[in-house]
C-alpha cells in the first residue's frame, strides 16, 4: 500500500457527495451551478493526478475498508493502469460534458437535476473502474444502469425518451443480473471476491467445470452493457437523451463499461476456445452490422450510435482474439474512440442545436455557415474513417494487423475479409457524415438559421479534436506511456508484446486492407442514393417491435398468473393459508419425535370446570350467532372475562388485570364502531363453503389444542430463573413481570409502546382522510336516527360516572405506583384511566367531555414515547447501555413503599402512550359520529332536574 491509498475511497465518494451540490447551486444561476458541479470532478481528477505517477511506474494502489470480512464484503479499491486510463477518461470527459451541457441545455430544462444525475452516474462509473471487490463492482454496475435510466429519460415529456430509458434499463439491468450470477461463480472458484486475488488465479478458473457458465453469464452482462449483437438495439433508442448524455454515456463511459470488464477479466477468462469464438465472433458481427446500419441512418445521432455499436464490436473483437498484441490495440483504440466519438456527438448536438434538425437529408453546406463546427466535425470524422494523420488510423491499422493474422474455424480469410468490410463501411458512413452535412451547396430551407455556437459550446469538442490530431501525428509521445501501462494491466503483467505506435510501418497487409477499405468506402458513398432506396424497401427485423412484443408477452403472462392467483378473494387466501399451516404442522408432527410426558397434570376444581364450560359455550355461540352482531359482541365479552379469571387462577395477576381492562376498552370500541356498521351479517356463503371452513377450523383448532396439550405435559428449563433472582437486586422491584417489562426487556416494551402509538396515530390519520373524501358526504346523508336513544345522556349515568371519576383515577394512580412491586404498572394503569375517561364520554358525549380536557392525545403519545426514550438514553450519561435502570425507594405516607427510579419514569412513558392511543382511537370514532349528524350537547345531561325551565330539548345545538 502506498501513502496515497486513502485518496482512492475519497475519489470514489466525491461524485456522490458532489451530487448534492447542483440542487442547491441552481438557485444561484446556471453558470454558478455548472461551475460548482465541476468542482468535485476537478477535485477527483486532481487526486487521480496525485496517484498517477506511481501507477505509471507500474505500482498498484490499493485501499480497503473492511465491512463484513467473513462474507468477503469490503469496500476495497485498487488503481492500476487500466483503472487509471478509465478513471481519467470518465473524469476528464465529465468536465468537458459539464461545460458543454451548460450551453446545450435550454432555459426550460431543469439544469440542477441534470447535473445531479450526471454526477451520480459519474460516481457509479468511477466505482466500476476502481473497485477491487467484485460485489462492490456489481453494485456500481447496477448503479450505472439506474443513473443512466435517469439521464436517458431526462426529457420526461418525450415519449421516445421514456421508452428509450426503459429499454436501456431493461436490457442492461437484465444483463447486470446475469453478471451477478457469473461474478458469484467466479468468486466461488477463486475463493475470494477481490479482483486482485481473482486475477492471480486464471489457470484455476479456466480449468474449473464452472468456467463456461461463469463466462457466459459475465459475457451477457458485458455484451448488454456494451450494446453487442444481439443486444445492440437499445443504444440507438437511448439517443433520445440530450446530446451531452449521448456524448458522455454512449461514447466515452457507460457502453465502455462492458469493454472495460472484458479487458479487466482478460487475464482470467481469455485464452480459451470458448472465449475466442464467443467474444471475437460477437464483436466481428457487431462491427460489420453496426457499420452497415449506420450507413443508412439519416438521423445524425442514430448514425453515430450505430457507429458506436460498430466500434464497440471492434473493441470486443480485439479482446476476443486473445492475443496480447490485439489487447494492446484495443486499449489504444479505446482512447482514440473516446476522443473522436465524443467530439462527433457534441458536433452533432451543435448542429441539432443550431439548425433544429438532425436529419441528414435536410442538411448540407454547413461548412459555410458554421466553419468552426465543420472543422471539428471533419477532423474527428476523418479519424473515425481511419484516415492517415488522425488517431483513428493508428488503432485501425493495429486492428487490421491483428485481424490479418487471425484464423477463424480453420479459415485464414474470414476475419480479415470481414474486418476490411467493417473498415470499408466505416469509411463510407464517416464520409457521408462529412459530405452530406457540411459540404454541398448552402440550402435555404434549414428549420433555423445556423451559425457557430458560443465558445463555451465548441470548446470541449475542439479540445478533443486537437487530441485527435496530436495523437494521430505523435502517438508515442502523447499516449505511449499510458497505452503501455494500461495495456500491461490488461494482459496481466509479464512482457509487453512488440508493437510500435507510429504512422508508417511500410507496405504491409494492414495498409493494403486500409486502401481497399478507403476506395471501397468512397465508391459506396457515391452509390449511396440507389443503395439507400434499396435498403429502405428491403425487409429487416425491427428490434424495437420484437422487444416490445417480448415485454408485452412477459407482462401478459405475469398478469394472467397474478390475476389467477390474486383474484381479490381474501377469504380464499386465508383458507389457503390456514390449510397450508395445518399441513406444515402435520408434516412437522410426523417428522419429529415426541419425548414422553414427564409433567403431572394439575387437578381440575369444579369452579374451573364451570368457567371452561362458559368459555366453550360462549365461543360456540359466537360462531353460530355471529350474524347477530350485538349478541356476538356480548358473548365475546364473556370469553374475555373467563380468560381473565383463568389468569387469576393460574398465578398471573398482571395478565388478569390487563386482560380485563383491555376487554372493557375493546368491547366499548367495537360497540361504538358497530353503531355505523350493519347490525346483521347476511347469510352469503353456501353450505359447502361453510362445511369446508368448518373442517379447516376444526383441523386448525384440534392441531393447536393438541400442540398445547403436548407441551404442557413436558418440562423444560426456563431462562427466567435469572429474572427471578435478579429482579429485586438488579431491577429494584418485586413484581418480576413488571421488572421484566420495564427493565430486563425494556427495549421490547419500548418498541411495543411505539407500535401502539403508531396504531393510534394511524387510526387518527385514517379517520382524517376518510372525512375528507366522498365518505364524508355519504356519512352526512346517512340516517342513524332510528338507533338513537331518546335519552342519550341519562341523569343516573352522568351522576354516577362523575362520582366515580376521582375514585377511578385514584385506582389508576395506585395501580401505577405499586406496579413495580405488586401486580399493576404503566400498561394497566393507562387502561384503567382510559376506562375512567371513557365512562365520562359515554355519559355526557365525547364532545362535551373533550371540551373539558386540556392535554391533546397526540401530545400524550408523543410525550410518552419521548419520556420512555429519554429515560433509556439517560443511562448513556452514566456510561451504561440504553435502558439500564437506576433506582431508589420512596415511602409516601399512607401508601406502601414504592421504588422510584428510572424504571418509574419509563413506566410513566408507557402509561401516557397507552392512554393517548386508546383515547385517540375513541376521539376518531366520535369525529365520525359528529359527521354522521350526531349533535353536540352543551349540558352534561339531557334532562337536568336542577334547571327546571327550558332544560327539555336543549340536548342539541
Amino acid at each position: 500500500m502506498s501513502s496515497g491509498s486513502s485518496l482512492l475511497p475519497i475519489i470514489a465518494i466525491l461524485p456522490f457527495l458532489g451530487a448534492l451540490i447542483p440542487g442547491i447551486m441552481i438557485r444561484a444561476g446556471r453558470t454558478a451551478c455548472a461551475s460548482f458541479t465541476a468542482i468535485p470532478t476537478l477535485l477527483a481528477l486532481v487526486m487521480l493526478g496525485v496517484l498517477a505517477p506511481a501507477v505509471m511506474r507500474g505500482e498498484v494502489i490499493r485501499a480497503e475498508i473492511e465491512w463484513l470480512p467473513q462474507l468477503g464484503l469490503s469496500a476495497s479499491f485498487f488503481l492500476d493502469g487500466l483503472g487509471l486510463l478509465f478513471a481519467g477518461m470518465i473524469l476528464g470527459m465529465g468536465l468537458l460534458i459539464t461545460l458543454y451541457a451548460r450551453f446545450y441545455l435550454s432555459g426550460e430544462d431543469p439544469m440542477g437535476q441534470f447535473y445531479t444525475y450526471l454526477l451520480l452516474f459519474q460516481g457509479a462509473m468511477l466505482g466500476i473502474v476502481i473497485s477491487d471487490n467484485i460485489l462492490l463492482l456489481l453494485i456500481f454496475w447496477e448503479l450505472t444502469s439506474l443513473t443512466s435510466f435517469l439521464l436517458i429519460g431526462y426529457w420526461k415529456h418525450l415519449p421516445e425518451g421514456r421508452q428509450g430509458a426503459r429499454m436501456a434499463l431493461a436490457v442492461t439491468g437484465a444483463g447486470g443480473l446475469a453478471m451477478i450470477g457469473g461474478m458469484l461463480i467466479l468468486g466461488n472458484i477463486a475463493g475470494s471476491y477481490n479482483l486482485t486475488d481473482i486475477l492471480q488465479q486464471g489457470d484455476a478458473i479456466r480449468a474449473s467445470d464452472w468456467y463456461l457458465p461463469a463466462l457466459i453469464l459475465i459475457l451477457i452482462g458485458a455484451f448488454t452493457k456494451s450494446a453487442q449483437f444481439p443486444f445492440h438495439f437499445w443504444l440507438p433508442h437511448a439517443m433520445a437523451a440530450p446530446t451531452p448524455v449521448s456524448a458522455y454515456l454512449h461514447s466515452a463511459t457507460m457502453v465502455k463499461a462492458g469493454v472495460f470488464l472484458l479487458a479487466r477479466m482478460w487475464p482470467v477468462l481469455s485464452g480459451t476456445e470458448a472465449w475466442f469464438y464467443i467474444v471475437a465472433t460477437t464483436g466481428l458481427v457487431t462491427m460489420v452490422l453496426g457499420a452497415l446500419i449506420a450507413l443508412f441512418k439519416d438521423d445524425l445521432k442514430a448514425l453515430l450510435a450505430f457507429s458506436t455499436v460498430s466500434h464497440l464490436g471492434l473493441l470486443t473483437m480485439l479482446l476476443g482474439f486473445g492475443t496480447k498484441y490485439a489487447a494492446i490495440a484495443a486499449v489504444f483504440h479505446i482512447i482514440n474512440h473516446l476522443t473522436f466519438k465524443a467530439a462527433l456527438f457534441m458536433s452533432a448536438g451543435i448542429v441539432d442545436h443550431e439548425t433544429h434538425t438532425r436529419d441528414i437529408k435536410r442538411l448540407g453546406g454547413l461548412r459555410h455557415l458554421m466553419p468552426i463546427t465543420a472543422s471539428i466535425a471533419v477532423v474527428t470524422a476523418l479519424s473515425m474513417a481511419g484516415m492517415i494523420f488522425f488517431n483513428g488510423f493508428l488503432s485501425k491499422e493495429m486492428m487490421l494487423d491483428a485481424a490479418a493474422e487471425t484464423v477463424w474455424a480453420g479459415s485464414a480469410w474470414a476475419v480479415p475479409v470481414a474486418a476490411t468490410l467493417g473498415a470499408l463501411l466505416s469509411v463510407a458512413y464517416s464520409f457521408r457524415f462529412i459530405v452530406h452535412v457540411f459540404f454541398g451547396p448552402v440550402r435555404d430551407d434549414y428549420p433555423a438559421k445556423p451559425h457557430d455556437p458560443p465558445f463555451g459550446m465548441w470548446a470541449a469538442p475542439a479540445l478533443l479534436a486537437v487530441f485527435v490530431v496530436l495523437i494521430g501525428i505523435l502517438p508515442a509521445a502523447i499516449v505511449g506511456p499510458l497505452v503501455a501501462v494500461a495495456g500491461g494491466a490488461v494482459i496481466g503483467g509479464g512482457e509487453l508484446p512488440y508493437y510500435s505506435l507510429k504512422i508508417w510501418h511500410g507496405v504491409n497487409a494492414a495498409l493494403i486492407m486500409s486502401v481497399i477499405a478507403l476506395a471501397g468506402g468512397l465508391v459506396l458513398l457515391a452509390l449511396h442514393r440507389p443503395l439507400d432506396r434499396l435498403w429502405q424497401v428491403a425487409p429487416r427485423p425491427e428490434a424495437k417491435v420484437i422487444f416490445d412484443g417480448l415485454v408485452a408477452a412477459a407482462a401478459g403472462l405475469s398478469r394472467r398468473i397474478t390475476e389467477g392467483l390474486h383474484n381479490g378473494a381474501i377469504s380464499r387466501y386465508l383458507a389457503i393459508f390456514v390449510a397450508a399451516s395445518v399441513a406444515l404442522g402435520y408434516v412437522a408432527w410426523t417428522g419429529g419425535g415426541l419425548a414422553p410426558a414427564d409433567r403431572a397434570m394439575l387437578p381440575i376444581p369444579p369452579v374451573v370446570a364451570i368457567g371452561w364450560v362458559l368459555l366453550a359455550v360462549a365461543t360456540a355461540l359466537v360462531v353460530t350467532m355471529h350474524r347477530q352482531r350485538f349478541q356476538a359482541l356480548v358473548l365475546i365479552g364473556v370469553i374475555g372475562l373467563m380468560i381473565s379469571v383463568g389468569f387469576v387462577y393460574l398465578s398471573a395477576p398482571d395478565l388478569a388485570l390487563t386482560q380485563i381492562s383491555v376487554e372493557t376498552v375493546t368491547i366499548m370500541l367495537l360497540l361504538l364502531a358497530l353503531h355505523f356498521l350493519p347490525k346483521d351479517t347476511p347469510r352469503e356463503s353456501p353450505l359447502a363453503l361453510r362445511a369446508r371452513d368448518g373442517v379447516l377450523a376444526v383441523a386448525a383448532g384440534g392441531a393447536v389444542g393438541a400442540l398445547t396439550f403436548a407441551f404442557l405435559l413436558r418440562d423444560f428449563s426456563p431462562i427466567s430463573d435469572y429474572h427471578l433472582a435478579n429482579s429485586y437486586e438488579g431491577g429494584g422491584g418485586t413484581n418480576v413481570v413488571n421488572v421484566i417489562l420495564v427493565d430486563f426487556r425494556g427495549f421490547d416494551t419500548y418498541g411495543e409502546i411505539i407500535v401502539l402509538g403508531i396504531a393510534g396515530l394511524a387510526i387518527f390519520a385514517l379517520m382524517e382522510t376518510l372525512l375528507r373524501g366522498q365518505a364524508a358526504r355519504r356519512l352526512r346523508n346517512s340516517d342513524q336516527s332510528q338507533d338513537r336513544s331518546r335519552d342519550r345522556h341519562p341523569l343516573m349515568m352522568v351522576v354516577a360516572t362523575r362520582a366515580m371519576l376521582p375514585i377511578a383515577l385514584m385506582v389508576g394512580v395506585y395501580i401505577f405506583l405499586r406496579g413495580h412491586n405488586q401486580p399493576g404498572g404503566g400498561f394497566i394503569a393507562g387502561l384503567v384511566v382510559s376506562i375512567a375517561f371513557l365512562m365520562q364520554y359515554m355519559a355526557s358525549g365525547f364532545a362535551w367531555a373533550q371540551a373539558r380536557q386540556r392535554i391533546g392525545y397526540h401530545d400524550m403519545i408523543g410525550w410518552g414515547v419521548v419520556i420512555a426514550g429519554l429515560t433509556g438514553a439517560g443511562a448513556w450519561l452514566a456510561g451504561k447501555p440504553f435502558l439500564t435502570s437506576a433506582y431508589g425507594y420512596i415511602k409516601l405516607p399512607l401508601i406502601e413503599e414504592f421504588g422510584l427510579g428510572s424504571a418509574f419514569l419509563f413506566d410513566l412513558g408507557v402509561f401516557l402512550t397507552v392512554l393517548g392511543a386508546v383515547m385517540l382511537t375513541l376521539y376518531s370514532l366520535s369525529r365520525i359520529a359528529r359527521y354522521a349528524g350526531e349533535t353536540v350537547n352543551v349540558e352534561p345531561m339531557d334532562y337536568d332536574p336542577s334547571q327546571r325551565a327550558g332544560a327539555v330539548g336543549r340536548g342539541g345545538e
Binding site: I570, S571, A575, R599, M601, P603, I604, A616, T619, V622, V623, H626, A632, I636, G646, L650, S651, A652, T658, V662, T666, L669, L670, A673, F676, P678, T681, P682, E684, G694, L696, A697, A700, G701, V704, G705, A706, T708, F709, F711, P718, I719, S720, L724, T734, V736, V737, I740, L741, R745, D748, E752, I763, T769, A775, R778, N821, P823, V914, S924
Partner: protein, 122 residues
C-alpha cells in the same frame, strides 16, 4: 387443568379460524379477537401452569414462583392485540363508509372502479 387450557386454546382457535374465513369484515374482526385470545393463552401456557405461585417476590420463606417471562410477553401481546383490533375496526369502518358494504373480498367492480378513477386522474 392442562386439558382445560389446551382445549380452550383449541376451541378458541377453531372458532377464530371459522369466523376469519367469513365474507364480512365484522365476523372477521371477531374471529381475529378469538384468535388473539388463543394466541395469548398459548404464549402464556408455554411457561407451564402453576397455581398459587404468582411471580411477585415474597419477603419471607422459600416461595415457589411461576415463570414470569411468558407473562411479560403475553402482557404486551394483549395490549398490542388491542391496538391491532382497534386499527382493523377503523379500517373496516372506513371501508364500509367508502364502499357501502363491509365485504372483505374484492370484486370485479372494485377493480373496475379503481381503473376508472385512475384514468380520470391521468
Amino acid at each position: 387443568m392442562e386439558l382445560i387450557v389446551a382445549s380452550s386454546v383449541g376451541v378458541l382457535t377453531a372458532g377464530g379460524v371459522y369466523l376469519v374465513l367469513r365474507l364480512r369484515a365484522f365476523p372477521v374482526i371477531l374471529g381475529l379477537a378469538l384468535l388473539s385470545y388463543a394466541a395469548n393463552i398459548f404464549l402464556f401456557a408455554s411457561g407451564r401452569l402453576r397455581i398459587n405461585a404468582p411471580p411477585v417476590l415474597q419477603k419471607y420463606g422459600e416461595a415457589v414462583y411461576t415463570d414470569p417471562l411468558p407473562q411479560a410477553l403475553t402482557l404486551t401481546a394483549i395490549v398490542i392485540a388491542f391496538g391491532m383490533t382497534a386499527l382493523l375496526v377503523m379500517v373496516a369502518l372506513g371501508a364500509f363508509i367508502e364502499a357501502g358494504d363491509d365485504r372483505i373480498d374484492m370484486t370485479e367492480a372494485d377493480d373496475a372502479g379503481k381503473a376508472v378513477r385512475k384514468d380520470g386522474a391521468a
